[in-house]
């Protein structure tokens, strides 16, 4: 359930049992509160605006010179990947690496 008004401080509540159609006697819910990404918070969503894209391209240029390191996944590629996209990206990388 998304809370789309300003009065509710969280953006969403999820009730986890429904993901697997559970009928357990108790329930577990999670409220999601938005937060700004600072160094001590978990980084979830990259902000792909002009400033950060430029910054990322500078890092990517450095990364491309590290021949012994493969940079992959949401944080190393600075891309909002869904799960299927991360898996596709990893498999593609493996094909290059192992063939």
């Amino acid at each position: 359930m998304n809370y789309t008004d300003a009065e509710t401080p969280y953006t969403r509540i999820i009730e986890h049992k429904h993901f697997e159609f559970g009928l357990q006697p108790k329930t577990v819910i999670t409220r999601e509160y938005p937060a700004l990404g600072t160094k001590n918070r978990e980084p979830y969503y990259p902000v792909n605006d002009a400033r950060n894209t430029k910054l990322f391209n500078q890092y990517r240029e450095l990364a491309s010179r590290q021949k012994q390191v493969i940079f992959g996944g949401r944080l190393a590629e600075y891309r909002y990947y869904d799960m299927h996209q991360v898996i596709a990206s990893a498999l593609k990388r493996c094909q290059i690496e192992f063939n």
Partner: protein
């Protein structure tokens, strides 16, 4: 060298890489600074429920190869993401579809809904958007924008929609059928038993060290493998030499509740 690959991060990318590497006989070490494997798909078991510890993860894809790939490691149920919006206690179906339009305006046919939206958009006195608010108004008009877009977006970004750039909302798809399925993909579901079993199957037979921070022992880790797969923040890898990349974050507050009737919200 002790290992062919050091893999930094036991999330999906690192775990898939480890699995494929092992298949071709490569020796891998996977490390992760957290106390669990799986990255953000990790599920924590509470009250017999698989709690999506880093937020809802609903698997969906149009790619049959990827669908077949994940189905090797778990059976998936037929879960369909059909979220609801709660605006000041009023409920609306998402994504924007005929159900939503009926709830907003009482319109019952696609033609009535299209006419209503055209009338809404026509009331907007400008044609070139210079910020997110203007962009959204031009796409869906004031009613949808005010009830379902504005406050939610402002909460997410911690600033006003007028201060946000238009590019954040590239499109706001409108669906003129009574269909609440959020995703358009052919395949969708949740692994029965949670995501951890997929990670465990991928990492089976691969050495894994948890609670292990790459940066605290960087020279050591760089000395034990021929190559590295790094899945952490790219700016941190380079010691933030050009500055910090921006992220949006979330705070999760999870509570277990004893209920007599088994549902509190009734929807994920």
């Amino acid at each position: 060298m002790e290992y062919d690959y050091l893999i930094v991060g036991a999330g999906l990318f690192g775990s898939v890489f480890a699995y494929e590497a092992k298949k071709v006989g490569k020796r891998c070490l996977v490390i992760d600074k957290r106390d669990h494997r799986g990255g953000n798909v990790y599920c924590k078991e509470m009250e017999g429920i698989h709690v999506h510890w880093y937020g809802a993860h609903i698997f969906h894809t149009n790619d049959q190869k990827i669908w077949d790939y994940v189905n090797q490691f778990a059976d998936f149920n037929r879960y369909t993401n059909s979220p609801l919006a709660n605006y000041k206690g009023q409920l609306f179906n998402l994504p924007f579809n005929m159900n939503t339009f009926y709830q907003l305006w009482g319109v019952k046919t696609p033609a009535e809904a299209q006419a209503k939206i055209a009338e809404q958009v026509k009331s907007i006195p400008f044609s070139t958007p210079s910020n997110l608010e203007e962009q959204a108004l031009l796409m869906v008009g004031p009613d949808i924008y005010e009830k379902l877009v504005r406050d939610y977006t402002e909460k997410q970004w911690g600033t006003t929609a007028r201060a946000l750039p238009a590019f954040i909302i590239k499109r706001l798809p409108l669906r003129f059928t009574f269909d609440n399925n959020y995703f358009n993909d052919q395949y969708q579901g949740i692994p029965i038993g949670g995501y951890n079993q997929i990670i465990d199957a991928l990492l089976k037979g691969v050495e894994l060290r948890l609670n292990t921070d790459f940066f605290s022992e960087k020279p050591y880790f760089e000395s034990i493998a021929n190559k590295m797969v790094y899945t952490g923040k790219i700016d941190e890898y380079f010691n933030y030499c050009f500055g910090e990349l921006a992220y949006r974050s979330l705070r999760f507050i999870t509570s277990a509740i004893a209920v007599t009737f088994p549902f509190i919200i009734g929807t994920p």
